[in-house]
Amino acid sequence: MNTILRILKFSAQDIARNVWLSVATITILVLTLFSINIMATVRVISDNAIEVIKGKVDFSVYLKSEAGEGEILALKTKIEGLNNVKSVDYVSKQQALQKFRDKNQNNQQVIEALRELGKNPLSPSLNILPNDTTQAAQLVESLKRLDSDIIESRDFSDNAAIVKKVDYITGKINEAGLFVIIVFSLTSLLVIYNTVKVTIYTHRREIEIMRLVGASRSFIVAPFLVSALIYTLIAILLITSIFFPFLTLLQPYLEVFFTGYNINIVSYFINNFWFIFGVEFLAAAFAAASASLLAVRKYSKV
């Protein structure tokens, strides 16, 4: 108990006596953690974006108005039998009209034009969702080759290409992010190493005397490890108090971008709070402690 209190006291003295060095150490740790969390955020957003776009990848086959129920259902079964088909949705003439009305209910001119027309101008259709959007091109080929009298036209939206693009862009962002994280992490380790080096230098008399009077090795080393832990702890506390306001600022932009989809980056980080920041703390503390230990080994002769 005594020993623990004394180690804490020495560690507090280390930190206080080199205040600016401690500030620099904590700053670089915060920057590192910030870059890591930014990467995590980008990851969450891009995963969501891909999900959203994937949901939008669907193909439609428009049918002739006079096509009979039986023929349509046969075609539906046939398409369901194709490779990579998740579902086939039959939208009848009436349903199509209803959808069209709902969509344009605020557009008086369109509604007026419909009424003047006096009949349903829309075609029934089959909407096809692919299982795997990345393999959608093959499905498009199969649908193009589909031969049936009742098919009036086909519509293959190009969202699959967008998914590929988003995948590609996030891949690039991840690469760049990884590079930034590595640079920041290495800088952190170097800064911590040098902080300990300077701390040892400013405490060289104490350390010399400690060794002379028979302080055990662990007692000389422990305060440095405790300081490393305190630095990491402060950095984690700072990053949580910086990062959540940052996410709150980001959230409205995301909501605009993902209109109609439920994406909440703030609650994602809140729900995974202990996991994200716990793992970050453990990893940072481990790295900081290792860097300190290396410096102590090298410069304090214990």
Binding site: R205, L212, V213, G214, F219
Partner: protein, 226 residues
């Protein structure tokens, strides 16, 4: 108490600092070690406190073979040997009492032990009324006495003094030597490394003279030779 058998020591490839040195010191002795600068006296002290290792030979202290002492064991050796130097090695931002308490704090002394030992060692060196002074507020002689008080906190069987009077005038130096003699009378083995001819001659105790890493004379009631 101390047995050195054929010890040799070389720092990084250069000439031997200690050559085949043999020395036996019995419990309760007061031994002065003299010799010119570079003779290897401090190196000998460093070997005795486990700061340096010998290249060959054997080092035994109080029945403990420390020839190949591991780093982990060094602190235990240091708690059995008090050591003082020419430059006192006091921490300027701590009072004398705090300086002495520090030695116990860092080597696992309990609070109760600190409370009882600090005043008692201050009393031995006659500094009980200056316990709360800072090292900058006392004389060199007093600083060395404080350093001696700190060296005594573990009640060592051996006290090593490497030129303890090097920075002091004659009066203060004599006071320190008297203090070392008093500590010796309590039964502590004292090894005094010094350049001071008058001190050695006045002591009239065992004198070991070194030259270029060898012992050139060892007299029971010696004078300062060289």
């Amino acid at each position: 108490m101390i047995h050195l058998k054929n010890i040799c020591k070389t720092y990084s490839h250069r000439t031997k600092v200690l050559r085949d040195l043999n020395l036996n010191i019995h419990p309760g002795e007061f031994v002065s070690i003299v010799g010119q600068s570079g003779a290897g006296k401090t190196t000998l002290v460093k070997i005795l406190i486990g700061e340096e290792r010998v290249d060959s030979g054997q080092v035994e202290i109080g029945g403990w073979d420390i020839t190949r002492l591991s780093r982990r064991e060094v602190p235990y050796l240091r708690r059995q040997i008090g050591v003082i130097f020419q430059d006192f090695k006091l921490l300027p931002k701590k009072t004398l009492a705090e300086n002495i308490a520090f030695a116990l704090e860092v080597s696992g002394g309990t609070n109760a032990k600190i409370k009882s030992i600090v005043p008692s060692v201050l009393k031995i060196v006659g500094l009980e009324d200056k316990a709360d002074r800072y090292p900058t507020e006392i004389s060199g002689g007093e600083a060395q006495r404080a350093a001696i008080a700190r060296a005594l906190v573990h009640q060592p069987k051996i006290l090593l003094a490497d030129e303890p009077t090097g920075n002091l005038d004659t009066i203060n130096a004599d006071e320190i030597i008297d203090l070392l003699l008093r500590i010796n009378r309590f039964g502590t083995t004292v090894i005094l490394v010094t350049h001071n001819r008058e001190i050695v001659n006045r002591l009239n105790r065992r004198v070991v003279a070194m030259e270029r890493g060898e012992i050139i004379s060892d007299q029971e009631h010696g004078k300062y030779v060289l």
